[in-house]
């Protein structure tokens, strides 16, 4: 047992770090540091930079553009990226639908979609949740009925992140209403330009527009856009959800956030002294750092074991990554609220700041903090709420 990075891994980390330092446009970096949203153009720019380097989809099989890095190196890569800090590549493409396509898709689908996912020529979004199907996802009702060479899709998806930018959506649809609920579901790829699709924005409590409702009204989808077999979609969805183990804990993001907290706390004065010099505050931060280090080690345990595990089996410890990772992300936003204090109050959405000339109300770093606190409540809800995660652990691991 040796938990230190090897010489090779350390050299790799230096290489990645110096590449990010040199290649990441400063404006993109500064936006992230300030807690602002990355724009579509910025993410496309960054993805193309990574693609030119050959690093857009490191975890994919080599024949589809992957790098062949070990899970630990992939982790180091993502970790360095979050701490640069650079935007993460669009998960819906590279982490979700991409692996489904190269694992279960036809040759034609692989050739058509994978290269455009890697370069972000196609922006993908995810059509899983429905108004009546949240935690109980398999109860979904969006119907797809075969009509010659097409499926006719009717129904509604919701919580569709960044659908406003999307070229394509991957959907779970019901193709056999008679079957047991998990067995009648198929996995369809749908062009967002198809007639009959309507996207309606949902404004979240932070004032932002990340998620949408997507309505399907007699949308004709060519049969060639079915992934794998009809009525086997639930298996592909489970594969997709279980697939994102390398970065689900978001350790790098939380580390970057903690550095930011310390930096800002050194600027804030409370009762005549710097906030960072107050023992109570330092201890609150240190308590989160401990939980984060434990999470990081758990993450590395899972990844180091990955190579040796049978395909399709999971390390029991992997299930805790989502729970702890989301709790820690939320804790960091609470600490930022502590740091900013009263100037968390003015509501100054990004669009308003972008369009005006007068200075911000309060410190120029303050306006994004309360929105981030509100927005980060989502991380313990999406991707299977933490309570659902606990149900899964109780059943699959504890045998209860």
């Amino acid at each position: 047992m040796d938990l230190r990075f090897t010489e090779d891994e350390l050299a790799f980390r230096d290489e990645v770090r110096s590449f990010f330092r040199q290649a990441l446009p400063a404006s993109i970096r500064d936006n992230i540091v300030a807690g602002r949203h990355t724009s579509k153009e910025e993410l496309v720019t960054w993805t193309r930079i990574l693609h030119d380097k050959g690093w857009a989809v490191p975890h994919w099989p080599v024949e589809h553009g992957g790098t062949g890095w070990s899970p630990i190196k992939q982790y180091i890569y993502l970790e360095e990226m979050s701490q640069a800090p650079a935007p993460a590549p669009l998960a819906f493409g590279v982490n979700m639908v991409g692996p489904v396509i190269y694992t279960f898709g036809s040759e034609a689908q692989k050739n058509r979609f994978l290269p455009r996912i890697a370069t972000l020529e196609d922006w993908w979004c995810q059509g899983f949740s429905e108004p009546g199907s949240g935690s109980d996802l398999a109860s979904l009702k969006t119907r797809a009925v075969r009509d010659g060479d097409h499926y006719i899709v009717n129904g509604q998806k919701t919580w569709t992140t960044l659908a406003q930018y999307a070229d394509w959506i991957f959907c779970l649809v019901r193709t056999d209403p008679e079957a047991r609920k998990q067995s009648g579901i198929s996995f369809l790829l749908v062009d967002m330009k198809t007639p009959g699709i309507t996207v309606r924005p949902i404004q979240t409590i932070d004032g932002g527009h990340e998620v949408n409702e997507v309505f399907f009204d007699d949308v004709r989808v060519p049969v060639e856009n079915l992934v794998g077999e009809e009525n086997k979609g639930w298996n592909y969805a489970k594969f997709l959800l279980g697939n994102e183990r390398v970065n689900i804990a978001r350790v790098g993001v939380s580390k970057e956030r903690i550095r930011r907290i310390k930096e800002l706390a050194a600027k804030q004065r409370v009762g005549g002294e710097r906030m960072i010099d107050q023992p109570e505050f330092r201890e609150k931060v240190a308590a989160v750092e401990v939980r984060l280090k434990a999470l990081e080690m758990t993450q590395l345990r899972v990844l180091a074991g990955e190579a040796k595990r049978e395909k399709g089996t999971q390390d029991p410890a992997s299930s805790i990554l989502k729970i702890k990772g989301s709790e820690i992300q939320q804790a960091t936003t609470e600490l930022l609220m502590d740091v900013v204090g009263p100037y968390a109050m003015p509501y100054q959405p990004e669009e308003a700041i972008d369009g005006r000339n007068e200075p911000d109300i309060g410190p120029d770093w303050a306006s994004t903090i309360a929105p981030a606190y509100f927005n980060t409540r989502k991380v313990s809800i999406y991707g299977g709420s933490n309570e659902i995660q606990k149900n899964i652990i109780a059943k699959a691991i504890l045998g209860l």
């Binding site: 047992m1 230190r4 758990t298 180091a304 606990k390």
Partner: protein, 384 residues
Amino acid sequence: MDFDLSEEQTMLKDSVERLLADQYGFEARKKHGAGKAGYSDRMWQQYAELGLLALPFAEEDGGIGGGATETMLVMEAFGKALILEPYFASIILAGGVLRHAGNGEQKAALIPAMAEGGLKIAFACAEPQGRYDLFDVETTARKDGDGWVIDGKKALVLHGDSADKLIVSARTSGNARDEDGISLFIIDADAEGVSRNGYPTQDGLRAAEITLQSVKAGPDALIGSKGTAWPVISRVADEAIAALCAEAVGCFEKMHELTLEYLKTRSQFGTTIGSFQALQHRAVDMFVELEQSRSMTMYASMLATGDDAVERARAVSAAKVQIGESAKIIGREAVQLHGGVGMTMEYAIGHYFKRTTMLDILFGDANHHLKRLAQLDGLIREDS
């Protein structure tokens, strides 16, 4: 990065676990603890035969040359069985002092005897007023001819009542709470002027308050050089904390296992109580704490033997915070999920709860270590 055990390490783990599964069940444990010393000399001899008492010492000193991983494996197994013998007190603590500061003659005189099981040493490093600060030393040692005369009070000396010898920290210069000026001496536990008041601790182990009154020590009693013991003490303490963390993980694992068994067998309202979601989620909380603790123990074990004292302190304190917090969560959930029987002496779970509560306290509780970590600027810094 590699989390796998070597073949030798796997064999070590298996052999310790086998011995304890065979001879250290909960009922057997009661018998082991029934004698005056509060533990079993027969088990101690078996640890010696298995090489466990020689494990952390260097081969040239008569040991086996095991490292942090080996200690972690053994301590974890000991935690699972809730052993009563003074392995931590004698081999990890006092043995740690000898490993890091003993001279050739001291090692030759003491280590082989310890490894054979014939000699037990306790480390008297804490004092009543010092709380968790091991540099808070009011006990004095003054020069007396070639040798020394030691006066003072030592607190909570683990297994101090049954030890053959004591290693004592005493001030040879400076003021109480100075890190400089502390020295270490080894004396016979029954030397003239030593009075030992032994008592049981909450977890069924033993400790002693020790008064030293004009205790004479020879010139060869000094371990390491005069006045410079603090780096040794803090290093030994850091390594000891990593070992305590591993013991706690062993306890946590068993507590989780016992609780799951109970949830799966206890029936109320016509069904096993493990089918209730409110209880399932609490069992999951225990599982999450167990795995986080295991991760932090690996981390601390890896860094506790490093030479960078600050990095070591950060890692060890972080792990102790995790263990202390987890001890509270796992302990209270384990007892709660057991219901009434969790409150009884005759049932195992409460004994694990008591031991893990003491493990939080030993060498600094979660509050103490959180403070220490915060003072050292935490784990995530500009330069990290």
